[in-house]
């Protein structure tokens, strides 16, 4: 399985004029947003700003109300789109980990590889072990999720997503459900990923991480992108009043 990685001039994620409403509530009001191959984009903003909804629309966990989303040039919002195939190119990491509690760590990592990628048991296991090693949990192969700490569970979740050999990774507030002392280990894994050139879209409240690892920071508020740019600019000398106020609040 060789997925196209970084086609020339084609963004990994290209969101065009995206609208999303829940009933009468408009959560996204015309978003234009893209992530280039190899780029790490951190999306920040107050809760309720629509940043998680944007991320969830990208792999169609939420159905957009209007607009287009291209994954490496392929329209995932098109009625005929092979959504399962497109999703398998996007690794997704959730705030609440969402490991499969009835399966061992190894099976968590192999089940989709075997089913979706059609890999053999041996191959899937080998890839799983390699990715567990990558997140520093090779000794937890046979453990069950409930026996792991939150930080370990999230690292397993990252390894699970990586085992699909995705072209890009999306993180939906990956450290928000963690005890403070466990945040570091997860961020360290993400930092390594970024260093290895992984394309990443990260919705986060960790400003230090965005500053250090992000190639670009996008600030969202009330369903629109207020401003974006390099972290040094957006986080230290924001142009907009709303960004300034938000940054003051999160300290």
């Amino acid at each position: 399985m060789t997925a196209p990685t970084g086609r020339e001039g084609v963004p990994a994620i290209d969101v065009q004029e995206l609208y999303k409403s829940f009933g009468d509530l408009e959560v996204l009001s015309g978003i234009d947003f893209h992530v280039d191959p190899g780029e790490v984009v951190c999306v920040i903003g107050p809760s309720g700003s629509g940043k998680s909804t944007l991320l969830r629309c990208v792999n169609r966990l939420e159905e957009p109300t209007a607009g287009r989303i291209l994954i490496e040039g392929d329209d995932i919002t098109h009625p005929d789109a092979n959504v399962d195939e497109l999703r398998s190119r996007i690794g997704m990491v959730f705030q609440s980990f969402n490991l499969f509690p009835h399966l061992s760590v190894l099976r968590n990592l192999t089940i989709a590889q075997r089913r979706v990628r059609g890999r053999s048991k041996t191959e899937a296991r080998e890839i799983a072990r390699r990715n567990l090693d990558r997140v520093g949990l090779s000794d937890k192969v046979d453990a069950y999720p409930s026996h792991l700490s939150g930080g370990q569970q999230q690292r397993v979740a990252i390894a699970r997503a990586l085992s699909m050999d995705p072209d890009m990774m999306m993180f939906d507030e990956p450290t928000s459900a963690l005890d403070p002392e466990l945040v570091g280990e997860v961020l360290a894994v993400m930092r390594d990923l970024a260093r290895d050139g992984m394309t990443m879209m990260v919705v986060t409240h960790e400003m230090a991480f965005a500053q250090e690892v992000g190639d670009r920071v996008v600030f969202m508020d009330a369903g629109v992108v207020v401003e974006e740019g390099p972290p040094s600019q957006v986080l230290t000398e924001p142009k907009h009043e709303r960004t300034r106020r938000f940054l003051q609040m999160v300290g």
Partner: protein, 259 residues
């Protein structure tokens, strides 16, 4: 007198009244006649081994068949009920409402006389029995299974779909296995109810070899004019149901540990 002493006094009086009641009933009863009619050792002995090799065997077999059918069909109904396709939902809802609302005896009876009329031939007894009991069981189990599936956190489906799994495969490998863990206790309840409901099967007619426990006991009651067979049969029912509920308690505890 303090409030505590008062309470203790009231409790003591209640105990005395309860004990007096039990003793009174025991004294009023005609023990000799009762024993002759309900605990006739000779008659009880004659029931063996048939009560186990025929009656209990049939009860277990019928329960197993109806439970398997009910589980499979109930799962289908539950998935229809959760489907995004409205006619599936309606169909399933109507089915569930009808067969939960009718007495099981009526349904079994209708299946028993309905099949020969509708299809012109008698179907094998085991098929009729499986359908008669299973049709009702499926309706109850469908609701239990639906609750189990809905009890699985939404994030599980999202995680599975995000990995590229199809809806069906996510259901089969991620959601349903977890749902069933949740519903082991209520499902056992259905099983125990089903064991007892096999006693309704007499309405579709039996041969000596196809009698289940209660029919077996009642026939002996009639031929001997003695109620001992009912006592024996009751004991056999308990021998089946009590270990079952205990087993489930163990499973439940183990399950709670592994989560």
């Amino acid at each position: 007198m303090t409030k505590r002493q008062q309470q203790r006094l009231i409790r003591s009086i209640l105990y005395v009244l309860f004990a007096a009641g039990v003793v009174g009933i025991a004294l009023l009863a005609d023990w000799e006649t009762t024993q002759r009619n309900f605990f006739n050792g000779e008659l009880a002995r004659q029931m063996f081994p048939d009560v186990l090799t025929i009656a209990a065997r049939n009860t277990i077999l019928y329960t197993f068949l109806a439970f398997s059918f009910g589980l499979a069909f109930g799962l289908l109904l539950a998935l229809m009920r959760l489907s995004s396709i409205a006619p599936y939902r309606w169909l399933s809802t109507v089915y569930i409402e009808i067969f939960r609302g009718l007495p099981a005896l009526l349904t079994i009876f209708l299946v028993g006389i309905g099949i020969p009329i509708a299809f012109g031939t008698r179907w094998p007894t085991l098929v009729t029995i499986t359908l008669g009991l299973g049709i009702v069981a499926a309706a109850y189990m469908a609701e239990t299974i639906r609750a189990g599936i809905e009890g699985v956190p939404k994030g599980q489906m999202e995680a599975a779909r995000s990995l590229g799994m199809s809806y069906t495969w996510a259901m089969v490998s991620i959601i349903i296995p977890q749902g069933f863990r949740i519903i082991i206790p209520p499902l056992t309840n259905e099983l125990v109810l089903l064991i007892k409901d096999t006693s309704l099967l007499f309405v579709i007619g039996t041969t000596p070899a196809s009698k289940e426990l209660l029919k077996f006991g009642r026939d002996l009651l009639n031929t001997n004019a003695n109620a001992t067979p009912l006592i024996v049969v009751g004991a056999v029912y308990l021998m089946i149901t009590v270990p079952l509920t205990q087993l489930v308690r163990v499973l439940e505890r183990r399950n709670a540990r592994s989560r």
